[in-house]
């Protein structure tokens, strides 16, 4: 399958933060969730893809083309939804769209008007009068109106009510029914991704922890729970992180079957959610 987006060896450093050797790819026709705690580097990755910040090394290819050497062609195929939509505040939505539309050869006014109507956004309303949720809806309407092949969304569901979050997820699932289209969706709300993502990339402290199909991750990762001192964390194969609580040891393993074989009935085993995985890897005590 062709990749909609390929990132390899990406590096960007700021004072006190380094995004280092980030590599992953998004197959066409899939939704990839980019997860990680706040400050992990999700927005930095998306900005590097959009060439909003300069990369120090590495490569970004959008539908096989370098995102800097072929910037206009690559960006024409991207619909970008910012974490904080940055449109001029004192201008009507229809005027913003009229300024943006000429940049996209596949812009569809009928689709745009229909999406605004569906989202309950009056075209003449000024951007500054919109609530946060409505701003996100407008940004999404713009991204969808030019028939983008790759939709990049940076924390689109943060601050949205559950009803619109659900609507958004349904809408994104509909987008990828067209198998040419792909979505990269960064969030720290992992429950959203469990509903729709095909692939998940987890980034922590500027490095990729894993990038794999969601089902494979949920199959292989698991929680090992043992009471008292019956099981030492160091015994657990594929240990990713653990914590001790009043009930005993709770640990995340990256190889649930190996842990089950090794520790046997001394512990109980559960499938880990993406939230568990994110918690233990970013906050749990590291394995020895």
């Amino acid at each position: 399958m062709d990749a909609a987006l390929e990132i390899s060896g990406l590096r960007k450093s700021y004072k006190g933060f380094v995004l280092d050797d980030v590599s992953f790819s998004i197959p066409a026709g899939t939704i990839m969730g980019l997860i990680g705690p706040n400050g992990a580097g999700k927005t930095t990755v998306i900005k590097l893809v959009m060439n909003l910040i300069r990369r120090e090394s590495g490569a970004v290819r959008i539908f096989g083309r370098d995102n800097i050497a072929h910037e206009p062609e690559a960006k024409a195929r991207i619909g970008f939804v910012y974490d904080e939509p940055c449109f001029p505040p004192d201008i009507g939505l229809d005027r913003i769209a009229s300024a943006v539309a000429p940049f996209y050869p596949r812009w569809d006014w009928k689709l745009f008007s229909g999406t605004l109507e569906e989202f309950g956004l009056p075209p003449r309303k000024k951007f500054k009068t919109l609530s946060h949720g409505m701003k996100m809806k407008f940004a999404l309407a713009l991204a969808l109106a030019h028939d983008a092949d790759l939709i990049l969304m940076d924390e689109p569901t943060t601050g949205l009510d559950p009803v619109f979050r659900h609507e958004l997820l349904v809408r994104l699932s509909a987008v990828i029914q067209d198998e040419r289209k792909s979505v990269l969706f960064s969030t720290h709300l992992t429950s959203d991704l469990e509903k729709i993502a095909d692939h998940v990339t987890f980034i922590h402290e500027g490095s990729i922890v894993f990038s794999a199909p969601k089902d494979e991750i949920l199959e292989t990762y698991g929680l090992v729970k043992a009471g008292g001192r019956e099981v030492a964390a160091s015994e657990i194969p594929g240990l990713k992180g653990y914590r001790h609580s009043a009930y005993g040891l709770e640990a995340l393993t990256g190889d649930l079957e190996a842990a089950r074989r090794s520790i046997g009935p001394r512990a109980v085993y559960e499938r880990a959610s993406l939230e568990d995985i994110m918690y233990f890897i970013s906050k749990g005590e590291p394995h020895a």
């Binding site: 900005k47 959009m50 060439n51 909003l52 910040i53 300069r54 910037e71 206009p72 062609e73 690559a74 960006k75 024409a76 991207i78 970008f80 910012y82 940055c86 449109f87 001029p88 505040p89 004192d90 201008i91 005027r95 913003i96 009229s98 300024a99 943006v100 000429p102 940049f103 996209y104």
Partner: protein, 228 residues
């Protein structure tokens, strides 16, 4: 490039109209009530004012509303964005300067007979002042936003005061050190003086072009390196 210019006009329409209203008030005041203001001074003052205000209007608004991320996420190169902004700002400056000149002819109470001093050399000198102000301010605005303009103006004033103090206290006018300043001073006197030969005008045109080329390439390089 035209799409960026069109977008800038749509996004900044209200602000540009407000600027025009403010400039109209300023020009009307100078034309009707500023005593002792010669037509030359009016024209050069207008050129300076237009260059300073129009030069920062578009970039400052982008800085205020953080719309640079939107513009740079569109399918266009940053160098095209800078080129479009350069061309659009020049077009707006020229239109505003023509407007300022026409006001003196149209206003019944105008004390300035600008028509009497309209000649090629004087217009070129006006463009030179416009270029000098705009060309210096633009790279600062593009790199540092409104704060860059403020820093630039403060730094220019501090530098001027220091030069004046140095001249006053150390009698530097007689030393070898200020010879570059004397050269600049002589150059300005030559450019603004009565001579208007073809060579004289070609020199002014060359300086205008040099100012703009340097400013454009510096702005382009700065914008390309800007992280948003």
């Amino acid at each position: 490039m035209h799409r960026i210019m069109r977008q800038d006009l749509i996004f900044n329409r209200n602000n540009l109209l407000l600027m025009l209203a403010i400039m109209t008030c300023v020009f009307v005041y100078f034309a009707g009530w500023a005593e002792g203001l010669s037509p030359r001074a009016y024209f050069l003052l207008a050129a300076f004012y237009v260059g300073a205000s129009m030069g920062i209007t578009l970039a400052a608004r982008e800085d205020k509303h953080k719309t640079a991320a939107l513009i740079c996420s569109l399918p266009v190169r940053r160098s095209t964005i800078v080129a479009a902004r350069f061309v659009l700002t020049w077009a707006l400056m020229l239109l505003t300067l023509v407007y300022a000149s026409l006001l003196t002819a149209v206003l019944p109470f105008s004390q300035i007979d600008l028509i009497a001093v309209v000649n090629v050399k004087f217009i070129l000198v006006g463009l030179l002042i416009l270029s000098a102000v705009f060309s210096l301010i633009l790279p600062f605005t593009i790199r540092f936003g409104v704060m860059g303009v403020i820093l630039f103006l403060v730094a220019a004033q501090v530098l001027s005061v220091l030069v004046l103090l140095a001249f006053h206290f150390f009698r530097m006018e007689n030393s070898l050190f200020p010879s570059p300043l004397r050269m600049v001073s002589r150059g300005l006197r030559f450019l603004l003086g009565p001579s208007s030969t073809v060579i004289h005008m070609l020199i002014i045109v060359a300086i205008v072009l040099a100012f703009n080329a340097a400013s454009f390439f510096a702005s382009r390089a700065l914008y390309a390196r800007r992280d948003l």
